[in-house]
């Protein structure tokens, strides 16, 4: 307790205000997501009571054993004209839960109400459409914000801002793309990429020559890696890319794939660029008379150390998302090689292209950093 009081005493006026604002936002938002039913047009029902009606064991043609359950649910409507009334729902779910789940009292669901019963004024019945997930996103979002703030302090705050700003830019850029027929996705992504790079690096590192060198290196690096990926795809006439497995397509798949590849490698290249430029500038500031050759050698040593881990990070982000669908394929009797080539071809290509960008970024950022650092000397 004493420690807390001491900490409180040490806090500056500004900090107290900041913490109070964050605290208030937290409380307000949690209250809001738990009571925002009236903001939704779709009817929402809160589960009051559940009753397990039926259990069957099933085995499919591939000898997968599973259990199916049928649940009767009584729920209370939370919005709309029928607010406050009870509604009867049925839910079928399996123990594996690939596309369904068991509901418990307290769960909130989007439902559709059967019209017939409203008119006849009997008990309401309906079907379950989806789960109300906004409060969980909000909760995890706050855990994320608190962890980053507590651990990262200033840097944590900047990471949060950078995520929010970049997500907003991306959303806005996509709005432009979707609403104006004539725009090209790759052009939009290129402009967005410049904004992303400038904003993220400024937030991570502040406005200085180091950041400038990193921005230049990132843009050159991503551009070259995109070019390489493009020519490789052309040269092999897209052999081995299974676009048919790309999900959520409303647009020409090839462009979406290339734009995704572009965005994905951007972060990794930025990371390399900023690490390299920080170390080069650090070395140079320590010893102004250090030779370019010495800078090159130490820079390369640092680059060698980070390139493995960076490619690894990208690799795992890309391929992990395919785990559920791979398991589904394999358990449905699809041959091993077929399942893997079908579901991993695009992810692997993306990870490899990103890796190329990362590795190329090492010499590029090394030379831009040396250029920017030593130019300073020439001037003074």
């Amino acid at each position: 307790m004493n420690i807390i009081i001491n900490k409180l005493k040490k806090m500056t006026y500004k900090q107290i205000i900041l913490y109070t604002i964050i605290g208030l936002c937290f409380v307000a938002s949690i209250i809001f997501v738990n009571h925002n039913y009236s903001f939704y047009e779709r009817p929402i029902a809160k589960v009051v009571k559940t009753h397990l009606e039926d259990t069957t064991n099933v085995t499919d043609v591939h000898h997968n054993k599973d259990r199916l359950f049928t649940q009767r649910i009584v729920a209370e409507l939370k919005n709309g004209k029928e607010k406050g009334k009870q509604i009867h729902l049925t839910n079928e779910y399996s123990s594996s839960g690939a596309y369904d789940q068991e509901y418990h009292a307290g769960n909130e669901l989007f439902v559709s109400i059967d019209k017939k019963n409203i008119e006849e004024n009997t008990d309401l019945t309906g079907t379950i459409k989806d789960v109300k997930r906004d409060k969980y996103i909000m909760f995890v979002g706050w855990v994320f914000i608190f962890t980053l703030l507590i651990v990262g302090k200033r840097q944590g705050l900047f990471s949060i801002i950078s995520l929010a700003v970049n997500a907003a830019i991306l959303s806005y850029a996509l709005d432009i793309y979707v609403n104006y027929e004539s725009t090209r996705l790759l052009w939009i992504c290129s402009i967005a990429a410049i904004l992303f790079t400038v904003i993220s690096l400024l937030l991570v590192n502040g406005l200085n020559k180091k950041t400038l060198a990193a921005i230049a290196a990132t843009l050159i690096g991503t551009f070259i890696s995109l070019l390489i990926a493009y020519y490789v795809i052309q040269a092999t006439s897209e052999n081995g890319l299974r676009y048919e497995e790309m999900q959520f397509l409303t647009r020409p798949y090839k462009v979406v794939f290339m734009a995704g590849l572009f965005l994905g490698s951007l972060g990794g290249v930025m990371d390399i660029a900023i690490t390299m430029s920080s170390s080069i500038f650090g070395l140079y500031e320590k010893d102004n008379n250090i030779s370019k050759k010495a800078l090159r050698t130490s820079g390369m040593e640092i680059g060698k150390d980070i390139m493995g881990t960076m490619t690894n990070i990208l690799f795992f982000v890309y391929i992990s998302g395919s785990i559920p669908v791979l398991i589904l394929y394999l358990n449905n009797g699809s041959p091993l090689v077929f399942s893997f080539t079908m579901n991993l071809s695009l992810e692997l290509a993306r990870a490899l292209a990103g890796g190329i960008g990362i590795v190329l970024a090492i010499p590029i950022s090394l030379y831009t950093s040396i250029f920017f650092a030593t130019r300073k000397k020439a001037k003074s």
């Binding site: 690939a98 906004d134 962890t147 651990v151 996509l174 990794g268 490619t311 358990n331």
Partner: protein, 257 residues
């Protein structure tokens, strides 16, 4: 020749050209990790084995490859390994609960049409598999941060052998903070890149904000990004504390001798 083979060839060439022996080693690490990934997925199809335990085994294997194969077995990599595993265990616990509560496991209604030829009742627990997905996508950055904190902490301890545990811990934290910004950036953009198709889909079909936020696919992706960020932040104090504790304890032992 397929796109992937040519890209892999170029990547290998560049890694060797720029990184020499270390570069070649990094390339083989990728290869080995891919091997671990494939094996784990094949084992995961067996419904009787708990996917959470399999994920932990996979993480052990992958962190061992990333830490011990690249940097050798020594006290530095051992503490980094220990911190990675503790972080993963905590994160896994958190993610399983969140996945279950938010019901984001398996496939969303947007995906289900393409998968209609498949039988979905395959007896595998998709909640735990969903947690495995999130953990596996962060494992690369978790081990990266662990080693990037552990190395400089040892350097500082080496140069100032009388440094207190508290100062050592603080130093570890400050190193971690520097890495935090760039690593979260890498993760965010990698996720943005892979979700681009989904985002365009939502915009094209003019989903309302409420529909997007509550849909299974979108919430699953957002929760994945956020959990990845949480993991990357969480590893920092854990690694800093374990290293500070270990280094000071080793010094005390030496003093008694």
């Amino acid at each position: 020749m397929t796109v992937q083979v040519l890209l892999a060839g170029i990547l290998f060439l560049l890694m060797v050209l720029i990184g020499g022996k270390k570069g070649a080693r990094s390339f083989f690490t990728l290869f080995m990790n891919f091997g671990v990934f494939l094996i784990i997925i094949i084992v995961m199809t067996i419904p009787t084995i708990n996917p959470v335990i399999l994920t932990l085994i996979a993480c052990t294997a992958i962190s061992s490859i990333n830490l011990f194969y690249i940097n050798g077995v020594n006290s530095k990599t051992k503490t980094a390994f220990l911190s990675s595993m503790i972080t993963i265990a905590i994160l896994l616990f958190f993610i399983v609960i969140v996945t279950k509560k938010a019901m984001i496991q398996g496939f969303g209604e947007e995906e289900i049409e393409e998968l209609s030829v498949f039988s979905l009742n395959i007896g595998v627990d998709f909640v735990k598999i969903g947690a495995a997905v999130i953990i596996m996508s962060t494992i690369g950055s978790i081990t990266d941060i662990a080693i990037s904190i552990a190395s400089p902490m040892r350097e500082v301890f080496h140069h100032h052998p009388s440094i207190s545990k508290k100062d050592l811990f603080r130093f570890g934290l400050s190193i971690g903070r520097d890495v935090l910004g760039t690593d979260t950036n890498t993760l965010f953009f990698a996720f943005f890149g892979s979700y681009l198709g989904l985002l365009i889909w939502f915009k094209d079909l003019s989903y309302s904000f409420g529909e997007i936020v509550n849909s299974k696919v979108f919430s699953a992706e957002v929760i994945t990004i956020l959990c990845a960020g949480i993991g990357v932040a969480l590893i920092i104090p854990i690694t800093a504390w374990i290293n500070a504790y270990y280094l000071v304890k080793a010094r005390e032992k030496d003093a008694i001798k």
